[in-house]
Amino acid sequence: MHPRRDLAASRKKIQVSYVIRDVVEKYNRSGVNALQVDPTNNRLYTGGRDSIIRVWNTESKNQQEADPYVASMEHHTDWVNDIVLCCNGRTLISASSDTTVKVWNAHRKFCMSTLRTHKDYVRSLAYARDKEHVASAGLDRQIFIWDVNTLTSLTTTHNTVTTSNVSGCKNSIYSVAMNDPGTVLAAGSTERVIRVWDPRTCEKRMKLKGHTDNVKALLITRDGTHLLSGSSDGTIKLWSLGQQRCLATLPIHREGVWTLTTVFDSPSSFGCVYSSGRDGRVMCSDFRHPDCNSYVVCEESAPVLRLQLDGKSTPERIYCATTNSSVHSWPVKPESDKVDVENMEGSEIQDRLFDDEKPYSEKPCYSIPGAACITQYKVLSDKRHILTQDTHNRVVLWDVLMAKAVEDLGCVDFDVEVKNREKILYVPNWFSVDLKLGLLSIHLEERECFSAWMTARDVPGFEESDPVTKINYGGLLLRALLEHWPETHVLRDEKSTESDDMDESSSQSSPSKSSLPRKPGPGGNPFFKVPRHTPVIFSESGGRTLFRLLCEDAAGKTEGVSLRETVPQWVVQTVVENRIPAPFVKLSFFLQPHPSSGIKATKNTNNKLLANDMLTIGKVMEHVHEKIICAGDDASQSSGNGGSGQGDKSDGEPSVSDSSDPHKDTTTSVENKVELFCGEQSLEPEWNLRTVKHLIWRSGNDMILQYRLKT
């Protein structure tokens, strides 16, 4: 039935992740790594760190006029590092830190295929326009050259891609470039050397040494004779590939140069080249002039990740993508201005260059707004809510179980809010969080996913169910995430294990789409659902993405097949076989009379007790009240006798049970009669044992609780 499951088990551990987000994430959440302009259709494509490629309408220049947002292209699960628009704007290729390269139909905005040959982040793409070839390169030191026409003609039956593999790079590649005819391929890496190949034969041509740090940006002239490189060492270098030497070095940036762009007006040389990087200054350097004199186009407030020129025949404006989520467009000097520069005297130019000169544009002519990016988070002590702060300084409270925001607190002090929500409560960690997308990503791993067992009545919002029902956060969440998967509506095994209370209460709340004549299974959970648009991601622990789908899409046929192949056994156990692999955690502790209580310690009061770690102190108080104080002398006598042979008793026989108490109101009355202490600390009845153990007792030894009667 599941042919690949064994295989999956032998692979790396698979984790389940999901992203808490809005149905439509209209604006970039985090930095924008890549830009592409489609001039014929007036479209701008942005590849964001929030994993989404967005399409914008550049026609509506006036912001008030209309919303520039056109569409989102979502399939990546990590930063989109680079995009290339090819085939006259029909096809878009994207490279991502999820280690994949994806081919998109740019007009109909769907993902046509996913290329999984890279083994690490794919950092850069290069495009040979004349041949419609795209090269992808990444931190795995590999470069693959793809024929776009082959990629777009892939079908489910005809799905083998032959590519050329350019090898020889010894370090992680951060930039790659090809000339339009596809005769020269260059790659910049942390090796600090630019390596050049002939992509037609994949043979090495040369190495260019000179930069003293990572090379992050490359441009090659159409004829493949000259190359321009931008490096983290802060310089831009012009190279002659024929002479294999550096012709000029421009130290025009204060920090690393991350992006270069130009409009080629001659096949063999560079014209005006625009550059920017960590210092946020966009510079324009004229390479037709022997001094390569430069001027400051504009100044961004954040490091610039990518520049893209736009204009029908000559560049009119430049798009600037930064580590902030908004994209700005700045006017550039028209061609005529260059004449002035040429007429200037050399010395004058030098003075101007190193002056803190004013940028040409003070204000962007147009901006695509960005959304807030979450920058810090704090998982609250209930291990269910997360407090976050974003770049707009808004503090938001999220519910991990429901996968949604609960409360927007506005611009308040984050630390104060965290402090206000501190509670004396201990719940084991059962998930991990990351913010790389600028949104909350929650990761569930087999190791800890099931470690949080709760009593339903202690969980706000779940009170209505049977109060003694034990719920497992991880288990419930997995069921909610996969509730639309038909597989989960088929009860394969009528095992009634420890989670049987779940079976009882699990109604057929979710509509069973399965028409199979089997008995309907659990399908989701009775307590909550996650938003249908929630992306669910299966990936190797901390590594490659295996499969991404939206929560609601699990009902689909093809998705069902993929799920069957990728869902790891530990998740299948929970959502299909309806078993939670983690047992309750038992805690052993001693109950002793408080020294001030005047009660003499009888033999049995030293007995070790055993209970579920989520048992409340109120229940322990009840136990004290009923079994020790009210039971009186004869009870203590009899158990005292038994206490002598305590060692024979089956594992920790004297236990405090949580069994549903018919007379529930005794709890409140018991509070007024009995007091419990752990060390100096008086214990509240609503605390549970593990909270006391972890936050008050704080030792690996068995906990000692002391009781006394309230007077």
Partner: protein, 605 residues
């Protein structure tokens, strides 16, 4: 007995004023280290001071403050006293040129030291061959941790508990045998944890695997230890205050206690259980408690008498100690020299002389390749582990070497110290599975890690990583083999280019000792040490008079005012200039497998 036989043979050799240390069954690793430390005057002197201080404290309070945990330190000092007296005897014999004097012992036998050393470090229990570097660590740590009861590591960066935990978690907490007990995070019982050490290792995948600068870097778990020690000291003080004859020692002890209290970090919640000490234990938590505070405490506790009558000569206890330990005239002289600074320096003494002498600070910088943000972290180091170029492979060059496509020139093959230091400081790329979590990017990114020196110690130790691991395809296990390639050792080196602040600290160093591993495998072989003796000009002179036919030969050495010695267990040889020059260039005559392993440099002015 084997030893006697050897001694007999030895008599045919000329008598020279240097004392060997006898091998007690594969203990050459220990002997070579002991000899090096013996020729490190700062160490010997500070060792003596510390021991006297401890002894004073111990004598004061026999019941509560036993000196058992200072055994290694004590025995080491005794051993050195012994070696000194033996040397003086030889000098005496040589200078008198008389036959009456009995043949002096040419070597000592460190039985008692070995006994205690093995007790403390079970790693060295069996009579097996051991690593000299490991041995050096153990000796230094034994002396460092014990030097003062309230000492704490100088580097305060690790003091936060969170930091310590992070280190234990993020890095590999090596359960090496040096570590007697694992670090306890339990604040409940500080008294049970006496010498807890943390051994920090870099993650194994990094370039510095297993032999990082901080290899086996042991740190006191300060919050726990200081609290425990505080208790000791306070008890001591109380007891002593009840005995009027102990007045003489007050000032000195007071010096110690003041230090101890002012340096103790806020201890755990219950630092002391002793009821008498409650007021001071409360105050002990505050860092800057000064002498006035102490007086106040003791005034409250009615120890005013003890405090006020403090001006009395401190010489008395020292004399008493001298009486005990000094047996011969030579010994007395030696003690006098060594003890003199105690009087003057006692108050200015820092906590831990091992920290002062052998530990420096290294600054590790990690730069994210994505956002190019740099983060810095400084760590203490005792020795610097340097790579040794394997002579057979030329393609195994560092990442900074840009010419690694073409075979390197022949002359490049023998690495020297500068090359190794550059290699050590060069950027180490954290990529692949080793990525680094960048706080600015909120994700795992590639990064470059590089190391520079922030502070250099007076005695600098270089450790040469002469191991190469290779996968044995037949047995499917990794084999470790020794790199025997030649490594040039400069007699002087300036470390300025590897320092953070090139303008500041003194960066010139001069070689004074080499520990050499002789043998072709990593698992076996022999250790011996080459040591430069700069102090014994006089001794040598006397010796030259005695053995006239050697005068000519020795004259060159006397002139240069430094004598290079070859210490091979009980055998000590004087090396001539040519031999040592060849050795520094990596040429050990016929001993092809002799390779320098540990290098010791002194800071020069």
């Amino acid at each position: 007995m084997v030893v006697e036989l050897e001694n007999h043979e030895e008599t045919s050799l000329p008598l020279i004023p240097y004392v060997g240390i006898q091998n007690m069954g594969n203990t050459c690793y220990l002997n070579s280290v002991l000899q090096v430390l013996f020729y490190c005057p700062e160490f010997v002197q500070r060792l003596r001071q510390t021991r006297l201080k401890i002894q004073e404290v111990c004598e004061r309070d026999q019941t509560n403050f036993s000196d058992e945990k200072f055994n290694i330190l004590k025995e080491l000092d005794l051993l050195y006293t012994d070696m000194n007296s033996s040397r003086n005897k030889i000098v005496q014999k040589l200078s008198n040129n008389s036959q009456e004097l009995p043949e002096p012992a040419r070597s000592v036998r460190p039985t008692k030291f070995m006994e205690h050393f093995r007790n403390e470090n079970p790693l060295f229990e069996a009579y097996t061959q051991q690593d000299a570097q490991e041995c050096l660590h153990c000796i230094l740590n034994a002396c460092g941790n014990q030097s003062l009861p309230c000492s704490q590591p100088k580097n305060t960066e690790w003091h936060e508990k969170g930091q310590v935990q992070k280190m234990c978690g993020g890095r590999k907490l090596q359960s090496a045998t040096v570590m007697k007990t694992s670090i306890s995070q339990n604040p409940k019982d500080p008294s049970t944890s006496k010498h807890k050490k943390i051994i920090l290792k870099r993650p194994p995948a990094s370039k510095y695997a297993s032999t990082s600068p901080s290899k086996s870097l042991e740190l006191l778990s300060s919050s726990v230890v200081s609290a425990g020690c505080l208790k000791h000291l306070k008890r001591k003080r109380i007891v002593s205050s009840n005995e009027p004859n102990c007045d003489a020692n007050k000032e000195n002890v007071f010096g110690v206690s003041r230090e101890s209290i002012s340096t103790s970090e806020p201890p755990s919640k219950k630092p002391c259980t002793s009821q008498d000490l409650l007021p001071s234990s409360k105050n002990a938590g505050t860092k800057g408690l000064n002498i006035k505070g102490l007086k106040g405490i003791f005034a409250k506790k009615k120890y005013t008498l003890w405090i006020n009558s403090s001006k009395k000569p401190t010489g008395q206890p020292l004399k008493a100690i001298c009486k005990k330990t000094v047996e011969s005239q030579a010994k007395a002289k030696y003690s006098k020299i060594c003890t003199q600074p105690v009087k003057t320096n006692a108050s200015s003494d820092k906590d831990n002389f091992i920290q002062d002498l052998f530990y420096g600070q290294a600054l590790t910088t990690i730069k994210c390749f994505e956002c190019e943000t740099e983060v810095h972290r400084s760590e203490p180091f005792q020795d610097i582990s340097l790579p040794v170029k394997a002579s057979t492979t030329s393609d195994d060059l560092g990442p900074h070497d840009l010419t690694n496509d073409v075979p390197t020139e022949h002359e490049d093959l023998s690495g020297d110290l500068s090359w190794a230091l550059s290699e050590y400081a060069a950027q180490d790329i954290l990529d692949g599975e080793n990525k680094y979590y960048c706080n600015a990017c909120c994700r795992l990114t590639e990064g470059g890690q590089s190391v520079r020196f922030k502070q250099l110690p007076p005695v600098l130790t270089f450790h040469l990583k002469r191991f190469s691991t290779s996968l044995d395809t037949c047995n499917f296990k990794t084999t470790v083999s020794k790199i025997t390639s030649c490594f040039k050792i400069p007699p002087k080196i300036d470390l300025k280019q590897w320092c953070v602040d090139s303008s500041g600290d003194e960066t010139n160093y001069e070689l004074f000792a080499i520990i050499i591993h002789s043998g072709s495998t990593i698992t076996g072989g022999h250790y011996l040490s080459f040591i430069k003796d700069t102090q014994s000009g006089l001794l040598l002179y006397l010796w030259c008079i005695y053995i006239e036919f050697f005068v000519q030969y020795m004259f060159g050495l006397v002139e240069s005012d430094e004598t290079w010695l070859e210490m091979d267990d009980e055998d000590v040889k004087v090396l001539n200039n040519e031999a040592i020059q060849r050795a520094l260039a990596g040429d050990f005559d016929n001993f092809f497998t002799r390779t320098p392993y540990l290098l010791f440099y002194h800071k020069t002015k």
